[in-house]
Subunit: 424 residues, 2 copies
């Protein structure tokens, strides 16, 4: 089968391109040239027929990802399916299944059977299952896992191929060395074998599988900073330089590629972080986790992540991985997933509005008009979470004589400014 | 009695100046010259002996205010005192009492007897109590209210003196005309009397009372935008130009002054909004409400407000008025107050960290080291909300053979990157 890039280069325009262009208020030509130049990716496995594909990258709506998946201590697929639903209902554009326990294949089948959302994975997790330690990982085993996951309709995969032996000593200088699970596995492998990262050494073999299924490469940042003190350091930017080279190899192989980023970054370093990625990686889409703007917001990391995510997207990041209130504390619950997605979504749509997207202008204007009209039903329908809106709303009757009178909420009651101005 | 400005100009340095300079990592001379030049205010009523005074403005830590107070439909002072406590415990630097029902004087006495936090009010609310409509407001009545509140130890007062007749037609062009309670009262008064704003006309009389008690003037923005479509419009900037002139009159009268700001502002207009205020108002401290970066986050407006507040403070706003999850929906509960303060606080300290404040660098570094050491007690103590931290934390024993083994949380369990790297 050919890839989207092959098709577009040949002038064969898949049907979904038109639809995406329309959704993104982009003309088809711009969309196509952005995909070919690698400024936009359409993460879509060519076996994933049920997928509703989306564009991630320059000029597209900011997208939001939710991580879900089992852990050895908490392996309940019904609960994880509940998280997928909560994520989708709350506005997620993609989910990454990070499951490391239970019948993962069956679970992925349910996700792609029941939903049409973009699906990502970090294959090294599944490659590790059953091994005693990372040193037992082999490229053969790894390639078989990505081939297996490719057949499970996975649309994009995180590959930590940019983390090299030379970066390890840079990470050792850090306050909080390596916090990426994938990164720590690769470091352990390299230390054990005293050899270069096998994902880097066999990158062309990986690209072959990615190309075969038209899977989008998501170059993982194994050295993402795990605290603000480590942000934008030599370790992070060292790995990024290698990632930039791999971006070019992906493009040469007609494999769509995006780049993963931090993590924990203080506000004043976010712009530099984003600009550097965009510059080094020839404008490849940037997929950031948070970033968290302080280190001590555990319990409220979704808020620190919304601040960092909004700032990152404002400066050019394209895809926000959510952070939930459970970050640093536990595997997220269904409620945590919902709160995390909504927080990231607020960051994302804040940037979409700042870019004057017509749908955002329209939704914001409509709810403001409904507010002026005391049309609570319309406000509820337009709000980001109609259930919570309804649960919180306390209307107040201020004028008993007139039952048709518009009712303000209990924050101001009869002191409502909007009501006062209407009366005057 | 003399004012702080009088004292400083004379070279009499009140004791609290040294303490504030130390708290702010500022040398005393810089602090004093910033207060005299009006770049920093110390909102402190000279009767308010129990107050622990704070600095608001350039170079100082970003401060957070929580609005509390009764409404006619919800008048329970025990509950409001609970909100004050929740606000202080969550890190608020000031509270504004917006009570419009019940025995307000008794309530304010409890606040200032039981706490040493900076207290603000919007005197026009109390001036309205007992009146049938705003047209009955007189300057005599208003002056007696601010004198009464001055004796109740109020440290700063919002005065909507910048909203003039000429601005009304500008606001009429808006999607959501006037959303400030004070602003709507003034508009109704001006419409009814067909006269200029009496607070503007009698501004010198107001300054006399403020000067007498050394109360800080907070120039209210009666035309703050109530939706993103109205942000940075002629109405808002028109009023701001009048406010800028009033800033100079406050300074001429040795009355410390800060300026209030929006409201709802999309991300791309925040920088302009802040720069304009700072430029027009000669660097007077800027006290913003939110700002909210989208209009439809009701139920999660604390998150939209944290995004906007962080961006605003990053570009120079000095004082953040919190927004709670109840905004647009109801009078906030104690829990709403807590959530609102913490969200604003995360925005504030994100900017403090970005400015490399030593205490923030230290706290972030310490929790990161504790994270590396699996020292959960230290992490909990350093976290923004130790109770929630404790409630959420799920530790996992990964190695039963070794009971001394450091325990990761259930997010990754044995897959914890930090643990893996330590083992290698």
């Amino acid at each position: 089968m050919s890839t989207i890039i092959d098709d577009l280069k040949r002038g064969d325009i898949p049907d979904f391109i038109e639809k995406i262009a329309k959704d993104e208020y982009m003309d088809t030509k711009t969309l196509i040239s952005s995909i070919i130049s690698g400024h936009i990716v359409i993460a879509r496995n060519n076996l994933h027929k049920k997928l509703n594909p989306i564009a991630i990258g320059k000029g597209a709506r900011i997208k939001v990802n939710a991580n879900i998946g089992t852990s050895p201590t908490l392996c309940d697929f019904e609960n994880e399916i509940g998280k997928v639903k909560a994520a989708i209902d709350s506005g997620a554009d993609a989910v990454m299944d990070l499951s490391i326990a239970g019948d993962i294949s069956c679970f992925r089948k349910r996700i792609t059977d029941e939903h049409n959302i973009t699906l990502g994975t970090v294959p090294i997790y599944e490659a590790m299952i059953g091994l005693d330690n990372p040193e037992q990982l082999t490229i053969e085993n790894f390639l078989s896992v990505i081939e297996k996951q490719a057949k499970e309709n996975v649309d994009f995969m995180t590959i930590h191929a940019g983390l090299l032996k030379e970066h390890i000593s840079l990470a050792e200088k850090r306050v909080l060395g390596v916090v990426s699970r994938g990164g720590s596995i690769i470091v352990q492998w390299m230390r054990g074998h005293q050899r270069e990262n096998f994902l880097y050494e066999h990158f062309d073999d990986i690209l072959k599988v990615m190309n075969k299924y038209d899977i989008t490469m998501s170059l993982g940042d194994g050295l993402r900073p795990g605290c603000t003190a480590d942000a934008n350091d030599e370790a992070q930017f060292g790995e990024l330089e290698t990632i930039a080279k791999l971006v070019r190899r992906c493009k040469a192989a007609n494999v769509q590629v995006m780049v993963e980023g931090p993590g924990h970054v203080p506000l004043h370093l976010i712009e530099e972080n984003i600009r550097k990625q965009k510059e080094l990686c020839d404008g490849a889409p940037f997929y950031v986790l948070g970033p968290l703007t302080i280190d001590y917001a555990a319990g409220y990391d979704h808020i620190a992540g919304a601040i960092g995510g909004a700032m990152a997207a404002f400066f050019g990041a394209d895809f926000l991985c959510y952070v939930t209130p459970a970050e640093h504390l536990r595997l997220p619950s269904i409620d945590d997933v919902k709160e995390g997605v909504i927080a990231s979504k607020i960051a994302a749509v804040s940037v979409d509005l700042a870019r004057q997207r017509p749908d955002e202008l329209d939704r914001n204007r409509k709810i403001s008009i409904a507010r002026n009209d005391f049309d609570w039903d319309a406000q509820q329908n337009l709000s980001i979470d109609p259930d919570k809106f309804c649960r919180y709303l306390e209307k107040v009757k201020t004028d008993k004589a007139d039952s048709s009178e518009a009712s303000p909420c209990s924050m101001c009651g009869e002191w409502c400014a909007i009501k006062r101005i209407r009366k005057t």
